[in-house]
Symmetry: C2
Subunit: 318 residues, 2 copies
């Protein structure tokens, strides 16, 4: 007689928005292996950890990362309130809607020149300096619940990828703890992580400004400072995973070069592991791009990571 556990761990039950193919099969085989459905030992529940990059892996990051839209609107508001800022980057670009400058920053970054990335980062950090964590969360939540994606004709909370939502639910049903491990802002994602992904706030790992605590009559206030604590990207991702969870994940999913160390880190001598790399190759239903993913794609080829093609593997995207 099949038990509930067997049924859950069965061949890709619940992955309804995935097309049959190698990626869906790899997921089903991995989960079956973890659950001991193929005759081996099941991995204990407390070790079933899965980590997911957010931008470009769980939700759409084009034409610009969602948090960048949030920050640009804040920079515009600052430039409206203080005209002198209109002559300084990044306020100037934000105020003039000069996406050329912003795109050039990223092009320079990929070419190894971070001069303007630092100019942009300083503006980003200044944008919310002195704001309490509660106020920041309220602003982020309001934006995410209210703003529309610029081209997809839907709200930002509806640009999460349906197949990845299916995957998160499938893993949770099989005893996994899912975590977000994003280069984006930890406290930007927290207000909506449970609602959109079923991931509670304490399982959101991401970049953050340094924080300061000041005592007051309301139990003290924690505010954002105008400097980064760390950028949760590249080699910092496994470090933050260890710091927060204290384990190597069994499954890691990403889409860009900054995810390579995290995917590499999900490797075990004696337990199954799965590395998923989302390939954006569907200009019709989403966007097609590989800029910033070149090393990741090469390493996926070399190490046998599972490439998830949006065009081929996903029956529906949103």
């Amino acid at each position: 007689m099949a038990t509930t556990e067997d049924a859950r761990a069965g061949p890709a039950a619940g992955l309804t928005s995935w097309r049959d193919g190698p990626a869906k099969r790899a997921i089903a085989e991995f989960v079956a292996h973890v659950c001991g459905a193929n005759g081996g030992d099941a991995v204990p529940f407390e070790e079933r950890v899965a980590v997911f990059d957010n931008d470009g892996t769980l939700w759409c990051e084009k034409p610009m990362p969602i948090q960048l839209d949030f920050i640009l609107r804040r920079l515009v508001a600052m430039a409206q309130a203080e005209p002198a800022l209109r002559e300084r980057q990044p306020w100037k670009a934000a105020y003039e809607r000069d996406y050329g400058w912003l795109n050039a920053v990223m092009t320079e970054h990929y070419a190894g020149d971070d001069t303007n990335v630092e100019v942009l980062a300083a503006g980003v950090l200044a944008a919310h300096a002195g704001v309490s964590v509660e106020d920041f969360e309220a602003q982020a939540g309001k934006f995410l619940r209210g703003a529309q994606h610029p081209t997809l004709g839907r709200g930002y909370l509806e640009v999460a990828y349906r197949p990845m939502l299916d995957l998160l639910a499938y893993l949770a049903a099989n005893g996994f703890s899912n975590y977000i491990v994003s280069g984006g802002g930890r406290d930007f994602m927290r207000p909506i992580s449970q609602e959109v992904y079923g991931i509670p706030r304490e399982r959101v790992i991401g970049s953050t400004a340094a924080l300061a605590y000041n005592s007051d009559e309301h139990g003290g206030t924690i505010t954002h400072e105008a400097r980064a604590d760390y950028l949760d990207d590249g080699a910092e991702k496994p470090i933050r995973i260890w710091s927060r969870i204290g384990q190597r994940p069994l499954l890691a999913a990403g889409n860009s070069n900054g995810d390579v160390p995290m995917l590499h880190f999900a490797q075990h001598r004696d337990k199954p592991s799965l590395r998923l790399l989302v390939l954006h190759d569907d200009a019709e239903r989403e966007f097609a791009y590989t800029t910033g993913a070149e090393q990741a794609l090469a390493q996926a080829e070399r190490d046998g990571w599972t490439v998830v093609s949006v065009a081929r593997d996903w029956g529906t995207v949103f």
Copy 2:
């Protein structure tokens, strides 16, 4: 008819090692309030967060913090292997078992002079520089499972306070998520936190050395660097609580000045909260001391925090 929830939230069920008195009553009333047993709204489960300092709050910290014993043994081993270290502090003090030097460091620290604290800290960080997080964990776990407390006649895993273990279990039974928030090393406590406290490794917050990630053929290695990432004490405690959990706790328990910001942070306009300060006043069954707790005791008096007297409130200590 009493429901299971009512029974759990009943007057201090499970707090068998606590004596009847104001501290036990305050705990029972707080939990009843959180569970809605007194007619108000129950606090949602996901908001039932409790945070505990470790040294001196959950387990014994005298005659020296347990981790200091671990580190001193490592310094001795280093001095044995490398004679030149025997002339340098803190190796010299460790090698000569010169507890006078170590006590003087703490006395100077309480008096505001951290010169020798920095000397000690540099030695502490050098003691495990270059060690992988897995190896560090194995060493810490082996030490904690094998070493004896110097005066209490029991192993280190048996110097956790029985009443605090009862409290952790009582809170967990009432839907709380318990976290350790220690000035001690996060990765030092992780190997035994589940076994001793029922607190899983991802809920252990503490100090840490900076970590480095290096790619290799085994999925990369994370190693300790010879510098601190942060010291989880004082104002850093609420910051680390926010960073990890993303919420203000309902309950915070500590025993020293470094716990004051964390206890102060557990305050809500619209939800119950409880602040517990353990007072070590029982030289016969444990230790009696208030050095390093003067500000905490003063603030407890001023703000009405619940002081837990070892002598008066605990029927058994271990």
